[in-house]
Structures are given as C-alpha cells and as structure tokens.
C-alpha cells in the first residue's frame, strides 16, 4: 500500500441537530480515486468541507500526512485543490485573469510570457480556446465551471477534493475529466470526489457510501 495522504479518524458531523454520520473512518492514499456516494442530504458536501478544513467536525480528527490539519494548515492547503458548489471565479474578470488569480493563491506568480501561454494552454484543454479575454459573466454555467477546472491542468496539486465536478459539464467534458483524474492518480496524486454520475473509465475507483 502506498503512502496515506489524508486520513479522517472517527469523524462525526451534524447539521442542525441531526447527526449526518458518526465514527466515520476514511483514508486516501496516493494514487487513489475515491468517490463518495450517498443520497441528497446524506452529508457528502459536509464531509468534503470537513476534510478540507473549511468546517470542523463535531468529533474526530482529520490528518494530512499523519499530522492534524489544523497544525499543518498552510502546507496542506498548498498541496490541495478544492472545487466547491460555487464556481469559485469572479464574474467581472476574464477567464485568463481568474486563472492568474488562482495561480497567485497557490503561490505561483504568472508574470512572464511562458506563464501566460501556459494559462492559455490550460484554458484550451478545457475547451475554452477563444474565450480567454471574455468576462466570465458572459460565459454559460458549464463554461464558468470549466474555467475553474482549468486550474487542475495548470497547477497540479497532490490532492484534489472535488464537490460535484461534473455539474453542468457536457458528455465530452466528463470523459476528459475522467481521463484527467485517472492520469493524476497514476502520477501519484489522489482525488476525492462526489458525484451522482457513474464513473466508467476510472480504473481502481474506490467508493464510499454515506447512509
């Protein structure tokens, strides 16, 4: 078994006064794709937010490379990408400007020509060639989501936490993302995602069912 990257120990989460799940143990190793399944309201998003450190679990602990995430927050977040329900992009800015902003958040300054062409290349990979300089409010919901997904091509993080990455993405796009996830896992990255779609082309996919 390869190195354990992220580990949730004995997690318990509530929404309102309702217990979503308790004594949940979760482990993600390098090279793995983990799909979290469950009905609406079963706590998939809550679990992901706890794993990223956005929310705190009522009980239990999340560990990154064996350390509690509250102690290694900065180094954990530098190696982690989170894609939430919101597109995570500024509508007033262009696709290119949004990607530069995301790069800056990861500590990468894109100032030279080479960096700029890499941004355009990443946008082309998600099918947004020709939309680089268009303000994002003129893009469709699916295209806005693709701008955020371009980040996955541009900035390879060790762990990707994706909450419903396929929302509003067309069939071809879904296949491309599946290929990307598989490739990432083969390279030693890890992916946790929630989706209601069946993933057909991801070898070694592991599933976790929330009840």
């Amino acid at each position: 078994m390869s190195e354990i990257l992220l580990q949730g120990v004995d997690l318990c989460c509530e929404r309102g006064s309702r217990v979503l799940f308790e004594s949940l143990n979760i482990e993600v190793c390098a090279g793995e794709v983990l799909q979290i399944e469950g009905a609406n309201g079963s706590g998939k998003t809550t679990l992901l937010r706890v794993l990223t450190g956005l929310s705190e679990a009522v009980e239990g602990e999340v560990r990154w490379r064996g350390q509690p995430i509250r102690r290694v927050r900065e180094s954990y977040h530098l190696e982690m990408h989170y894609l939430g329900h919101a597109a995570g992009i500024k509508e007033a800015l262009t696709a290119r400007e949004n990607l530069r902003w995301h790069a800056a958040l990861q500590g990468v300054a894109i100032s030279d020509q080479a960096g700029a062409s890499k941004v355009d290349e990443a946008l082309a990979k998600v099918g947004l060639r020709g939309y680089e300089d268009v303000p994002c409010y003129t893009l469709s919901a699916g295209q806005q989501r693709r701008v955020n997904l371009a980040r996955l091509y541009l900035l390879p993080a060790k762990l990707w936490v994706l909450d419903e990455p396929f929302t509003a993405i067309d069939k071809k796009g879904v296949a491309a993302i599946e290929a990307l996830l598989t490739h990432r896992a083969q390279q030693g990255g890890a992916v946790i995602l929630t989706t209601h779609q069946a993933l057909h082309n991801v070898p070694g996919l592991r599933k976790l069912e929330l009840k």
Binding site: L78, Y82, G84, G88, K90, L93, A109, I110, K118
Partner: protein, 241 residues
C-alpha cells in the same frame, strides 16, 4: 515528475516573494473587478454628496449656522457612506466562492485580508476624503477647518474600513446583514467620530488639534495591526457553516 500536466510547479518559486504575491494579487484583482462594475463604487459617493447637499435645503442656508454644524455633518455623512459600502467587501466573494478559495489557498490569510481592506479604503475612503473639501466649502467651513477635515478623514476613514470589515466578516454568511451590521459596527465608530469632528471644531475655533490627531493616529495604528487578526478569525467562523 515533469509531465505535460505539470505545467507550473509551486515548488519552483521561492518562499519570500510568495507572501508579497497574495497581497498584490488581491489588490490587483479587487481593483480590476471594481472598475468593471463602477456603480458599486459610485453609490457611496453619491450618497455622501446628496446627504450633505440636503442639509442646507432642509435646515437653514445661514452661513454661520452651516459652518457650525459642518464638521459634524461631514463626518456623520462620511461614516454612513462607509457603512453603505461595507457590503461590497466580502459579500460578493462569498457568493461566487472565491472567498473559500482564498481561505484554502495556503497563503497567509492575514496578508490577503489586509489587502482586501486596504483596497476597500482606496475605493471608498480615499474618494470620500478627496471629495470632502468641495462639500466643506459648500457648508462655509473656514480654510483651517478644511485642512484639519482632510487630515482627520485621511486618518479616520481607514479605521472605518478596518472596523467595518470585522463586522462584514462576521455577518458574511447570513442572509440579511443590513441592520445587524450597523448595530455591530456603529458603536465602534463612535470614538473615531468624536475625535475627528472634535478636531475640526477645535481647528475652526483656533485651538490646537495635535491631541485629537494623535489619538486618531493611535487608533489607526492599533486597528491596522489588530483588526486583520479579528477578520481572519471571523471569516473562518462564518465560512465553517
């Protein structure tokens, strides 16, 4: 390790310029975004101008009376205009999800927050300050008063932005923030209001304003250092739900 997908590697950049990076990135992004939707910028300014022009119409156009109330009117209007502009601070970032991306960036959040509040001041407090001499002349404020007014606004409006940002960060996850935000923030604005309008009144009556200005400067230094800490914690709490 370098595969086609590894286009940019975060490890290749050194640690030190990285911290300036987030500060510059936030300021650049917020200013660009704000100028694409200028109506949000202009609203507080229009409010400021309208409130002040209504006073002579509603109360009295007597020049002695107006110059008496000018320091108070100008400062209260500036304060309310700032309050009006606090919405644009974190609300839109929260809605489009960029705020949670900022929290998860692994960059020092203190710097990012400092940059956000300073941008807010650049886009609201600074224009108010630059506009104020014009309105002060309209209210027959003497020239010594106008000089002091400018100084107090320069020292005071950043404080309003920093304190307002704490309230804004605390209420960012809530549906209706208007009244709650005012209730949280207004009491904390009162010391600034007292020292600032006191300074302008002292200047008009020929007294020394050094004490007032020193207090305002001290308040500014204190809030500039401590407020971002409170804002960071408030944002983490607001986004944890």
């Amino acid at each position: 390790m370098n595969t086609p997908e590894d286009l940019l590697s975060p490890q290749s950049t050194s640690k030190e310029p990285l911290k300036v990076g987030i500060f510059k990135a936030v300021i650049g992004r917020d200013i660009t975004a704000a100028f694409r939707h200028p109506s949000d910028l202009v609203n507080p300014l229009i409010f400021f101008v309208v409130v002040i022009t209504l006073f002579p119409l509603a109360v009295s156009s007597d020049s002695v009376f107006l110059s008496d109330i000018a320091p108070g009117v100008l400062w209260v209007s500036a304060l309310l205009a700032t309050l009006l502009s606090l919405d644009m601070l974190f609300q839109s970032d929260f809605q489009d999800g960029t705020l949670e991306q900022m929290l998860l960036s692994g960059q020092p959040l203190y710097n990012a927050v400092l940059a956000k509040v300073m941008t807010h001041w650049l886009l609201s407090g600074l224009p108010l300050t630059l506009l104020s001499p014009l309105l002060a002349v309209m209210l027959f404020l003497p020239i010594e008063g106008i000089k002091t007014l400018l100084l107090t606004l320069l020292l005071g409006t950043p404080v309003l932005s920093f304190i307002g940002a704490i309230g804004s960060a605390l209420t960012v996850g809530l549906r209706k923030t208007g009244l709650l935000l005012s209730l949280l923030v207004l009491p904390l604005y009162i010391p600034v209001l007292i020292f600032a309008s006191g300074a302008v009144q002292a200047a008009v009556s020929g007294q020394s304003v050094a004490g007032h200005l020193a207090f305002l400067g001290a308040i500014l230094a204190l809030t500039m250092v401590l407020a971002p800490l409170a804002i960071v914690v408030a944002l983490r709490i607001s986004l944890s739900n």
